[in-house]
């Protein structure tokens, strides 16, 4: 018995030592691999992280990687296709450690990108990818820090109201404007209410869907340059920010939202805001270009319903913002600081006419390369392109634009406004305080 225990003890000890030794050895190997990859003049391996991890999207990206390898002998593209949240978590961990950052990966721009640049994690692409940047120049602004472009936007969508055409008709709304005034919009709400239909679903439990109302209020009430100047200086004293809050308060006061909206989730499950739209329980939802996919995924037949329509956030009398301006965001390919030159070529290849056209044909997003914008298969998605490219500016989701620290404080204050526990000034105060705390 004692001998057995001693052996077990020895095995346990041995296993522990082996485990620790393996961990140390593993780290050594990883470092070695990186060095080999970077220093070798011939064969190069590029690690690429993306979130198209299922179906046609994954197959397409695998093919794109294979095509690039075929065109560039000696280059291997190591593809890591992950579920979105997993990818974000893994990226976050890699960025915090500052090591093992993939060569090419997705970035959302704004303050988050700025933080990565400040930490010296990203490669300046301004010169190395200048041809590509010229093609997509109208979208490069949100990925530019100190006049240098650090990521190449490949998909840029806008937020608006996704609505149920059948329920609108049922409520007697036959003529839906693509860009309604707030009076027209209020009319929709009244008619839907009168027909016994909950007009809007909003996932205020997740905060950011509610915050989108305030962001759009800012886009409408403030000139684009005013917002940029405020973000630059941290001074949000322009009256337009208060007006944006008042617009949101007016919408909340009309009580158009689904029952229990303060605890409703954004997209997860049938009782989420998207789920309520998918199951035809509400008239509309404010959401981005992802909504057809989400709604389709929440329906039994897994298809985007025919009744899904789209119109822009309403405009307001006397607004300072250009009516053509929209709020939205997208994804860009960033290249890590230590990545080989081939990684920049690969990121540029992902923005090529050929790859972007295939991307659009599969409705994987709204392409930024003008050569591909006419290739979207889904008509509902395609109708966003002329609005997005209609001459106005696209303001990045403000929480992304301001970075996570300030963005979260802002979203918290807006969620409180939806709960009736904060006013327009509180939102502005929260932003200013969080920005000041950042130093």
């Amino acid at each position: 018995m004692t001998r057995t225990m001693r052996r077990a003890g020895a095995v346990a000890m041995g296993a522990t030592i082996a485990l620790l030794a393996t961990a140390c050895a593993g780290q050594g190997t990883a470092d070695q691999d990186t060095e080999e990859t970077a220093s070798a003049g011939g064969d190069v391996t590029i690690e690429w992280w993306h979130n198209s991890n299922t179906g046609e999207g994954k197959e397409y990206y695998d093919q794109v990687a294979a095509d690039f390898e075929a065109d560039n002998p000696g280059v291997t593209v190591q593809v890591e296709a992950m579920q979105h949240e997993d990818m974000v978590t893994k990226l976050q961990a890699a960025m915090q450690a500052g090591t093992d950052v993939p060569d090419v990966f997705m970035s959302r721009g704004g303050g988050e990108l700025q933080n990565d640049v400040d930490a010296g994690l990203l490669r300046d692409l301004t010169t190395d990818a200048s041809d590509t940047i010229e093609k997509i120049s109208s979208f490069a602004g949100q990925y530019t820090v100190d006049d240098k472009v650090y990521a190449l936007p490949f998909s840029m969508g806008i937020v608006g109201f996704w609505y149920n055409k059948d329920l609108f008709e049922q409520a007697g709304i036959s003529d839906v404007s693509q860009s309604p005034t707030v009076e027209e919009f209020d009319g929709y709400l009244d008619k839907l209410e009168a027909a016994g239909i909950d007009p809007i679903s909003v996932g205020a439990g997740d905060k950011w869907p509610a915050a989108h109302y305030w962001y759009y209020g800012v886009v409408r009430e403030c000139a684009f340059d005013t917002v940029e100047a405020a973000i630059e200086s941290g001074d949000y004293s322009d009256e337009c920010f208060i007006k944006a809050g008042e617009d949101v308060e007016n919408i909340i006061a009309a009580e158009p939202f689904n029952p229990g909206f303060l605890g409703t989730a954004a997209q997860s499950g049938p009782t989420s805001a998207s789920g309520l739209l998918a199951s035809e329980r509400v008239g509309m939802e404010l959401a981005g270009h992802w909504e057809p996919g989400v709604v389709g995924g929440l329906r039994e037949d897994q298809k985007v319903p025919d009744w899904l329509g789209w119109f822009a956030f309403p405009t307001f009398d006397g607004q300072a913002g250009n009516p053509s301006d929209q709020m939205g965001g997208g994804d860009a390919w960033a290249v890590s600081q230590d990545a080989p030159d081939a990684a920049v070529d690969f990121a540029a290849y992902l923005l090529s006419d050929e790859v972007q056209t295939g991307f659009a044909e599969l409705d994987m997003g709204l392409p930024t390369n003008p050569a591909a914008t006419g290739s979207l298969s889904n008509e509902t998605l395609a109708q966003l392109i002329p609005v997005r490219d209609g001459g106005g500016e696209t303001q990045l989701y403000l929480d992304t634009r301001l970075g996570q620290s300030v963005g979260s404080a802002m979203n918290d204050a807006i969620a409180l406004m939806f709960a009736g526990e904060a006013g327009p000034q509180d939102v502005v105060d929260a932003i200013e305080e969080a920005a000041a705390a950042q130093g």
Partner: protein, 336 residues
């Protein structure tokens, strides 16, 4: 240690003396016998120590890796302003602690934690005790009832949270559908969406989840009450209530106090269930200290604030645990 000294003395004396008697000890036993016996004991001790090391090292390594190192990192993080990118260089001293302790959301979260501590004990103690006393009597379906009451405790927090989240969905959930079926109007924002109701709803769910633990512990404690005391009380003509008040509950004291300690610490660290149900909302009505620090850390990238909040949470839990130990658990010293 005593054997080591003996070995040293014996070898020293043999080295320094040339007398024939040096080979013998005062007892007349061959001197060689002592060093040989000492070596055996010494080897035994060494083996024992190695054995202890073999068994303790894995656990110690895990403890250092998953407890000590994170605690040190949290303390280090708490004195820096750090957004999670690059090295920590912006030293801010105690500024993060000031921010945390003056933050309305953190203070609200602390109050919520304390409400949950007090309410958990105030609700679960009498309820758990009553059910345990009931189930301690011979009755039909006793085993089944015990199982039913204990099952929620066995369920994973996430599973239980998701089930309740769906049951409590406003208007479309089971509870509201039933209420509407009998002509009652559910709360407009739902049970978890109304800032005035949410915390109490969470408390009901926590009671459902953890009552089983209290009942099982109390039932176990009841097994330790000697039957002779009940028999004596019966002979004295004591009523059922008198027996419970004078014998059962006092003898159950140590179990109740231990359960109270577990309940208090669990309530202070509450996270999973609330995160699944409300994420701390609406309007921070159900936020706890653990939710505050997770929000600051993973959602807002304010890792310095999150570090300070975790140290404060640790401090509060430690102080309360020590006070509980001193004021309440100390009464049980020597009871066993």
């Amino acid at each position: 240690m005593a054997d080591d000294a003996a070995v040293t003395t014996a070898s020293e004396s043999s080295a320094t003396s040339s007398r024939p008697a040096a080979g013998t000890t005062r007892t007349g036993r061959p001197a060689a016998g002592r060093p040989a016996g000492g070596r055996q004991t010494n080897d035994k001790n060494l083996r024992k120590r190695l054995e202890i090391a073999f068994f303790v090292t894995p656990a110690l390594a895990m403890l250092v890796l998953f407890v000590v190192w994170p605690v040190i990192t949290a303390v280090q993080m708490s004195v820096y302003r750090w957004n999670g990118r690059g090295p920590m260089v912006d030293f801010v001293g105690l500024a993060n602690y000031v921010s945390v302790l003056t933050d309305d959301v953190f203070v609200g979260s602390l109050v919520n934690n304390l409400v949950i501590v007090v309410a958990s004990i105030a609700i679960q103690l009498p309820l758990g005790l009553a059910i345990a006393l009931l189930l301690n009597r011979k009755m039909w379906g006793q085993g089944m009832l015990r199982t039913i009451i204990f099952v929620p405790y066995v369920l994973a927090e996430v599973v239980a949270g998701v089930i309740w989240f769906q049951l409590l969905q406003p208007y479309y959930g089971v509870l509201d559908t039933l209420l509407q079926a009998v002509g009652l109007e559910p709360p407009p924002q739902g049970w978890l969406g109304d800032p005035d109701l949410a915390l109490w709803t969470v408390l009901v769910i926590l009671t459902w989840k953890y009552l089983g633990l209290a009942v099982i512990l109390f039932l176990a404690g009841l097994q330790g009450v000697p039957d002779e005391l009940y028999e004596a009380a019966q002979l004295d003509g004591a009523s059922w209530w008198q027996v419970q008040r004078r014998i059962t509950i006092p003898l159950l004291g140590p179990t109740i106090r231990t359960w109270g300690f577990l309940s208090m610490i669990g309530s202070l660290q509450l996270f999973d269930m609330v995160w699944i149900l409300t994420k701390g909302g609406p309007a921070n009505a159900t936020s706890t200290m653990a939710i505050f620090l997770v929000n600051e850390g993973t959602r807002s990238n304010n890792f310095g604030i999150a570090g300070a909040a975790s140290v404060v949470l640790f401090g509060i839990a430690l102080v309360m645990a020590v006070l509980y130990q001193r004021l309440i658990l100390n009464r049980d010293k020597g009871v066993a």
